[in-house]
Assembly symmetry: C2
């Protein structure tokens, strides 16, 4: 089972992954267009293609070649990737203390009341869970 030290996606790769997470499996053309319109990304078509190919090599995406226009799909979940990136940032810049990170994140943007409520709920959950053995999610 994949102990997969998933290679940390680069910024460009992350952009493509975001598109795939949003749209689901897509052709290169579609991805390229999405990027162009959504993010005003003005790179050539072959650039997108090349990055996608590299990502396929790394196992970040899968490719369905049954048709002439290959169809790419994200091979890693958004959540998993986000977790990995958060962990990296945590270790790299915050000395492992989630609290500081959370503070920075929350101060970063005016958070809606609703979102604040959501977070509070999570805190509650974590607190009760803290008593009983924290179960399940392993790493």
């Amino acid at each position: 089972m994949d102990r997969s030290p998933q290679p940390k996606p680069t910024d460009a790769e992350l952009e493509l992954l975001r598109v795939l997470w949003d749209r689901g499996p897509s052709t290169v053309r579609e991805i390229h267009e999405a990027l162009a319109t959504a993010v005003a990304k003005s790179t050539g078509y072959t650039t997108t293609l090349k990055i996608l190919q590299k990502m396929a090599d790394k196992g970040l995406v899968t490719r369905d070649e049954s048709r002439r226009s290959h169809i790419y799909a994200a091979a890693i979940e958004a959540e998993k990737t986000q977790r990995q990136l958060v962990r990296h940032l945590l270790q790299g810049a915050f000395g492992g203390s989630p609290t500081r990170l959370v503070m920075q994140a929350l101060s970063e943007k005016p958070t809606s009341a609703e979102e604040l409520r959501e977070i509070r709920a999570l805190l509650d959950e974590l607190e009760t869970k803290g008593k009983s053995k924290p179960k399940g999610q392993k790493s």
Copy 2:
């Protein structure tokens, strides 16, 4: 005046910055040692030196050359840098929604009750502050 689009520090640079934030202004030797002991980093001395020099070029650190052993100091605050990195991650991987990031961060590590309390306090603060105009902590 520099509205400084501070160049995003790389991972290696971040490590050095961490040392400087901890120790304050230091010589290359000191930084190198600190890295070796603290992080079991086993690179050559000149590697550390080179990175420091590059960082000086970029304005990430300052250098006092009045002595033979130059003394480097962080030129950017820990908080500011962390905020920048959080913002980057937010945009790049979370579509700008802090909530998800916070969730991931909290799920990442068993957080102590005390820390949870701290975060709750911050939430309270944000909530009340949300009513009144949240005022500019600028940089």
